[in-house]
């Protein structure tokens, strides 16, 4: 099944290069496993009303090398739980990329995205043509294509369903 386009508002822009995603929940809270609790904490440091303002489908935007450092999984679990559908960034750090694609989180490398959007603009990631469209301004930008295996992981919902599908197909073909 082809990937559904992401469409939502820009809920936040992390304009800091090499952003350490652990900051989303704060390092002190990184060992919390309860997703409700994580979601209550997430982004509070940036915008106390974030949890109330964000809607399902909203998108987070980042700068270059997003996810640098030693990324843990709870911060993204938290903001996915709040409704964040994906991240569009100038570029991503590879460890973060692997970890989150394997969780089925759509990540979109789009050089120039910081200049394309402002907070709360309505944007769309159109997988079929490889464009990020800003519906608020009418502008758009091409994003960098994802590897086939990454696309397959997003289509199936993550690493485990992707491998199950692939192994089942291999067995059927054998």
């Amino acid at each position: 099944m082809p990937l559904a386009n992401l469409r939502g508002r820009v809920a936040w822009i992390f304009d800091e290069e090499n952003f350490d995603v652990d900051q989303i929940v704060g390092v002190k809270n990184i060992k919390i496993t309860n997703v409700e609790e994580l979601a209550r904490i997430a982004m509070r440091h940036y915008d106390a009303a974030f949890g109330e303002a964000v809607r399902a489908g909203d998108i987070v935007v980042g700068a270059g090398n997003f996810g640098y450092g030693h990324p843990h999984y709870p911060p993204l679990r938290a903001i996915r739980h709040l409704g964040i559908s994906g991240i569009v960034a100038e570029s991503f750090a590879p460890g973060f990329w692997r970890g989150e694609i394997s969780m089925g989180t759509p990540l979109v490398p789009c050089p120039g995205i910081i200049g394309l959007v402002r907070r709360w603009d309505e944007i769309e990631v159109d997988w079929s043509v490889g464009l990020v469209r800003n519906h608020t301004t009418g502008n758009s930008l091409a994003f960098e294509p994802l590897a086939a295996a990454d696309i397959a992981m997003l289509e199936t919902g993550g690493l485990v369903p992707y491998l199950k599908r692939d192994l089942a197909a291999a067995r059927a073909g054998a």
Binding site: N18, G64, Y68, G95, M103, L159
Partner: protein
């Protein structure tokens, strides 16, 4: 146009046809290496059976499991994890290396660092096997793929080449070279690429030092790092290599994403200030900063040259009152050599605390800091909370600088003790 070492290795393990950076391949790891850790190995072992119906891995000798974290255990739950790991390895016939040292180091000692081999782990610091011409990549949770099928999906990475020139001055170590690379090239210089380190200056850097540089490659954004095998590395790997492969080196006309030249002869010791591994500064800027604790160890230090220089500095001197110095050799092999050379005795007489090898000092499981405290460390990371408390600070530096700080209880230029 020629090929890089990474392209040649991935061509060899993905069918034999030449591949170029950007190609998507299904690559067969020569070795799949992991340490037992909650959320990784326990989940993988369960998923293999429950999600994929796979009772046994094919070719168990391609796999290696290490018990190096939670050593020694502090809770029954930790021991339970190790028990489960031991049982799994026994059932599967997979080699298990327990308490031999930090797995990334022991992998090299046991010959998993075969030149030209392709190795995967979940932990990115496995990149240090690149010191021996092995392409070793940390896949995070995608390591599951290597447990449920023969091959892993991979995009062939481009390579950035770094040529080192000159020789290091006294008291300046490979650790400084790596952080200098991050400083001048930036934390995304090799993003999604292989950092290939070479040039005339590499010949003066020990294999231990090359492991340090390659093992920290992730902080340049690299997916791994390699050095082309040379006489020095072959002398180490020839008697140890588990598989013998045709010699692979980058072609002189290989296609690189970028080539950088770095003169290491003018480097001074550096310090990486919290809370980010990209914050390289001159050590000189921080002289006198009060420090409570020092850690000399991890997969990015704790080897003979580190222990030797620390012993040289601490010989006949004392660790400052109230200062906690932990000096932890990285493997049993290293520890035994250090004992033979008298280094352990010198360090202990000076007041250092030492123990058998363990990863636990590096990730804040033991020897933790309290709020408001500050450490100098040769650990891998200085992110907040890494040594157990988010309100403490970690300054990364070379082994000599840790030893010197231990004497004075503050950041000190180690060269005055050498």
């Amino acid at each position: 146009m020629g090929y890089t070492l990474a392209e040649k290795v991935l061509a060899r393990v993905s069918g034999g046809q030449p591949v170029r950076a950007g190609d998507e391949v299904m690559a067969r790891p020569d070795f799949v290496v992991a340490y037992d850790f909650p959320g990784y190995t326990d989940v993988i072992f369960r998923q293999m059976k429950e999600d994929f119906g796979i009772a046994r891995v094919a070719e168990p000798d391609r796999y290696a499991i290490f018990i190096d974290h939670m050593v020694p255990v502090a809770t029954a739950a930790e021991e339970q994890l190790h028990i489960q790991t031991r049982e799994w390895c026994r059932e599967q016939g997979v080699p298990l290396y327990e308490r031999r040292g930090i797995g990334h180091q022991v992998s090299a000692e046991l010959g998993y660092a075969s030149p030209g081999a392709f190795v995967v782990h979940f932990d990115g610091h496995i990149s240090q096997l690149g010191a021996y011409g092995t392409l070793a990549i940390g896949l995070r949770r995608n390591i599951l793929e290597a447990f449920v099928r023969e091959r892993v999906s991979l995009k062939v990475p481009a390579t950035t080449r770094i040529n080192l020139h000159g020789a290091l001055q006294k008291g300046v170590m490979a650790r400084d070279v790596f952080h200098h690379i991050v400083r001048v090239l930036g934390p995304s210089a090799c993003r999604f690429q292989v950092m290939e380190v070479g040039g005339p200056g590499l010949s003066g850097i020990s294999l231990e030092g090359r492991q340090v540089i390659c093992g920290l490659a992730m902080f340049t954004g690299a997916v791994t790092a390699v050095c082309n095998p040379d006489a020095l590395s072959r002398a180490y790997t020839d008697p140890r290599a588990r598989i013998t492969l045709p010699e692979l080196v980058s072609d002189p006309d290989a296609s690189y994403a970028a080539v950088h030249d770095i003169d290491i002869s003018t480097l001074d010791p550096v310090i990486v200030v919290p809370p980010n591994p990209a914050n390289t500064r001159d050590l000189a800027e921080h002289i006198g900063l009060p420090i409570n604790a020092g850690y000399l160890g991890s997969c990015a230090s704790g080897r003979l040259e580190d222990l030797r220089i620390a012993a040289q500095i601490l010989k006949g001197r004392r660790v400052a009152d109230g200062f906690s110095l932990h000096v932890i050799p990285t493997s049993q092999e290293i520890m035994a050599r250090a004992a033979d050379e008298g280094l352990i005795a010198t360090l202990v007489e000076a007041g250092a605390f030492t123990s058998s090898p363990s990863c636990d000092y590096c990730f804040g499981r033991i020897a933790v800091l309290s709020g408001g405290q500050r450490a100098v460390s040769t650990g891998t990371l200085n992110v907040s909370g890494r040594m157990g408390n988010p309100d403490s600070e970690i300054y990364l530096c070379n082994a000599a600088a840790v030893a010197a700080a231990a004497i004075e209880g503050r950041v000190t230029d180690p060269r005055k003790y050498l």
